[in-house]
């Protein structure tokens, strides 16, 4: 385990990419890391996709657009946060359709081509729905922001994907879709000037197209071919940039991936899957963040072990009721408190059990591993994000393996 991993990543890397299953809190962790980096004097941008509304408000993103919004010093001050000289925090929300439009505006060779693409009904309908276009656009934006030099660090919150590698592979897949040779081949039989391909390849193409045309309608294929022909001038660039982005993310001194998980088993399984795929593709992984870990409910205390058994729980409930009766506390309330503690203690123990292998993996691979304890209420303010900092990048907790004690220390620190 590398206890300073995330702290170092916040100070030194230029790109942090948060990955993990849907619903594990990637956006919150991304925002908290960005804030932590800004508090270390860096110019930081956090780029999120579909954040919870109140979190968006906290970040000053109530106007949803794809432009970066700097979070004003007064806003930060109101939340009790002062950034050192040079530090700044901006946030943006990724809008796939607008990013795609801007890409075409920027790279179209002439105004006619630009207008033709933007007005094409197929483009309008599919540009935000092409499989992988959201991932591709996140990459595209990341590259653009990184190249601009306006930020020292870009923290990217990735869209939830069904398959772990979608995020990395989507750009290539999309680039392949726009690959000139494939699309030319596709478009050839529809060319009005009769410059369609001849020979075996041409005959196969025609046969395949006839088969597809019979199913989907020749008109659709024609419209699609026209759309693709209109985009033809951009294709070289797509592939080129996909390659650049990938190279950027593979640079170990520049970029780092952080795998976020909740303590739920399926989320942990997905975190593992992500992690292994990232490793297999030689992508730099900084570590894991286990989010919403339930702790502090006596799961480490031997004196509360008896709560695990129903009969003993009843006895303890009766004892507490008797002890609190002189204070005018109703019996049912004391019993309720004990029953609930039994439940919460069991939940916290289950979380610890579920996360143990992830923690061990991090330790064996010298990766960062941090736990954020579950809060009773959702985090939706800058102050709430700032409160996560000690758990996320603060002084390292002692190694948790030896005994139960270091984890208690972690809880006390987190509980402040």
């Amino acid at each position: 385990m590398n206890p300073t991993g995330l702290e170092q990543a916040c100070r030194e890397r230029a790109v942090l990419v948060l990955v993990g299953a849907g619903g594990v809190g990637k956006t919150t962790v991304a925002a908290a890391l960005a804030l932590a980096a800004a508090r270390r004097g860096r110019r930081v941008l956090v780029c999120t996709i579909d954040p919870a509304r109140r979190l968006a408000n906290a970040l000053g993103l109530d106007a949803f657009g794809s432009e970066e919004v700097p979070i004003e010093a007064e806003t930060l001050a109101a939340a009790g946060i002062a950034l050192p000289p040079g530090g700044s925090l901006s946030a943006m929300m990724l809008d796939t359709k607008r990013t795609f439009d801007r890409l075409i505006e920027r790279h179209a060779p002439d105004p006619q081509t630009r207008e033709r693409i933007l007005a094409n009904p197929i483009y309008q309908r599919v540009s935000s729905q092409l499989a992988g276009s959201q991932e591709y656009m996140a990459m595209e934006k990341l590259y653009e922001l990184h190249q601009s030099g306006r930020f020292d660090l870009v923290v990217l919150d990735t869209p939830p994907t069904r398959h772990a590698l979608d995020f990395l592979q989507a750009p290539e897949r999309l680039a392949r879709f726009f690959d000139t040779s494939v699309v030319r081949w596709f478009a050839a039989p529809f060319r009005r000037d009769g410059s369609g391909r001849r020979g075996i390849a041409g005959r196969i193409a025609e046969r395949v197209l006839a088969g597809l045309g019979g199913l989907f309608g020749g008109e659709l294929l024609q419209a699609l071919a026209e759309f693709l022909a209109a985009l033809e001038t951009l294709w070289g660039g797509f592939r080129e940039r996909a390659r650049h982005v990938r190279a950027l993310l593979g640079q170990h001194r520049t970029a780092a991936f952080i795998v976020v998980s909740s303590p739920a088993r399926h989320a942990i399984a997905e975190a593992y899957y992500f992690y292994r795929e990232l490793r297999a593709h030689r992508m730099p992984v900084a570590g894991f963040v286990a989010n919403r870990v339930r702790s502090g409910f006596g799961e480490q205390l031997p004196e509360l072990e008896r709560l695990a058994e129903q009969e003993q729980r009843r006895v303890l409930g009766a004892e507490l009721a008797a002890a609190l009766a002189p204070f005018g506390i109703e019996r049912r309330l004391a019993e309720d408190a004990v029953t609930a503690l039994g439940v919460f203690r069991a939940l916290a123990s289950a979380d610890r059990r579920n996360l143990a292998p992830l923690r061990a993996e991090a330790e064996a691979e010298r990766l960062a591993y941090r736990e954020l304890r579950a809060r009773a209420t959702d985090i939706h303010s800058l102050a709430g994000l700032a409160a996560l900092e000690p758990e996320l990048v603060g002084p390292a907790a002692p190694p948790p393996r030896a005994s139960a004690r270091p984890v208690e220390a972690g809880q006390r620190r987190g509980g402040g």
Binding site: R125, F177, G211, E219, H266, G296, G298, R345
Partner: protein
């Protein structure tokens, strides 16, 4: 809406955010339907199988019918396999469809093309609904579909409409038939799954709005998963508050529990529950306002191992939840929150 009304439809679709319990609920709904004597097919789409674990099977459910329980079968629709099936049915000439499937053009089109995988998977569900026994009865009384997570789920449910407007030829009539089935209130119902948490409530509301405005799929109930039991009435005011403020009450409790650390745990638990209870109540009310469907609440499962035991617990909770379902969108949060499963 009564459970019987829901089960009268032939296609039951569960939509909602990832982690909101769609899969477990779909499986439990399938189990409940099968136990009421229906022949039920449970379908998941383009996802690693999760049914096998829920039903305690060793091998994952794949693209072959898999018996899950009495009267209940499972199927995992892998788009790649559905596509082969699709071409086999529609192109028929083996040499031709194999050539299409092998061609680089098709693969590119299929991998990046918008919505094709989704459309073909929905088409498969449509064909399954049309299958008949030799005696002419439908092969399946009920198909329970675990739709992919919201964003993608909207794509899959909306694709038939887009395709019906965009495509030509045989695929167009195919898409129109699928769309008509999805919009038929006698045949189809879409249930929205949510959790009493901020993001899932937002997503459920977005799904509801999109279904009402664009998809026009008949809506059923809103399943609320993971509802924490409310603290006993008076708990927060009379006990939780005094645990924090009254040192002599605190030491009396600590003496029974075994020390100050145990007292801290008791306090933390009480604090957490009281904060969460009011938040949960507010979120359940917000959900009721933004997703005005009958709410069927399923309590938080303590041993959420997503195994056979969890499944039985959810099935039991479903039956109970329908009996207690709030008929109108008026929220009476907390009042009907059932006990956590043991």
């Amino acid at each position: 809406m009564r459970l019987e009304d829901l089960l009268a439809r032939r296609l039951l679709i569960q939509g909602g955010k990832g982690g909101s319990g769609r899969t477990t609920l779909s499986a439990a709904l399938g189990l409940v339907a099968a136990r009421r004597g229906r022949r039920v097919l449970l379908v998941e789409v383009d996802t690693p199988d999760r049914f096998a674990a829920l039903f305690g099977l060793a091998a994952p459910v794949g693209y072959e019918l898999c018996p899950l329980a009495e009267g209940l079968w499972g199927l995992n629709l892998d788009p790649d396999q559905v596509v082969v099936d699709f071409f086999r049915t529609h192109v028929r000439v083996r040499a031709v469809y194999q050539q299409i499937l092998r061609s680089r053009l098709w693969r590119t089109f299929y991998e990046a093309g918008p919505g094709l995988r989704e459309l073909i998977c929905l088409g498969k569900v449509w064909r399954l609904l049309g299958e008949r026994e030799p005696d002419g009865r439908p092969r399946w009384d009920t198909i329970v579909l675990d739709a992919p997570a919201t964003g993608h789920g909207l794509a899959i449910l909306g694709i038939a409409d887009v395709a019906a407007q965009t495509l030509f030829g045989p695929m167009r009539s195919h898409a129109e038939a699928i769309r008509d089935l999805l919009r038929d209130p006698a045949a189809t119902v879409l249930n929205i799954c949510a959790l009493p948490e901020e993001m899932p409530v937002n997503e459920a509301a977005e799904l509801y709005a999109a279904v009402r405005e664009r998809l026009q799929i008949p809506l059923g109930v809103c399943f609320v998963n993971g509802v924490l039991p409310a603290p006993a009435p008076g708990f927060c005011e009379h006990l939780a508050a005094r645990l924090e403020q009254d040192p002599s009450l605190g030491s009396a409790a600590a003496a029974v529990l075994g020390g100050p650390a145990a007292l801290d745990a008791l306090r933390a638990c009480a604090r957490w529950r009281c904060a969460r209870a009011s938040l949960q109540q507010a979120l359940l009310q917000e959900l009721a306002a933004r997703v005005p469907l009958p709410q069927v609440r399923v309590p938080y499962l303590l041993d959420a191992d997503f195994d056979r035991r969890s499944l039985e617990a959810v099935a039991a909770a479903l039956e109970r939840g329908f009996a207690e379902a709030m008929p109108a969108p008026r929220a009476t949060a907390g009042a009907a929150a059932p006990e956590a499963a043991p």
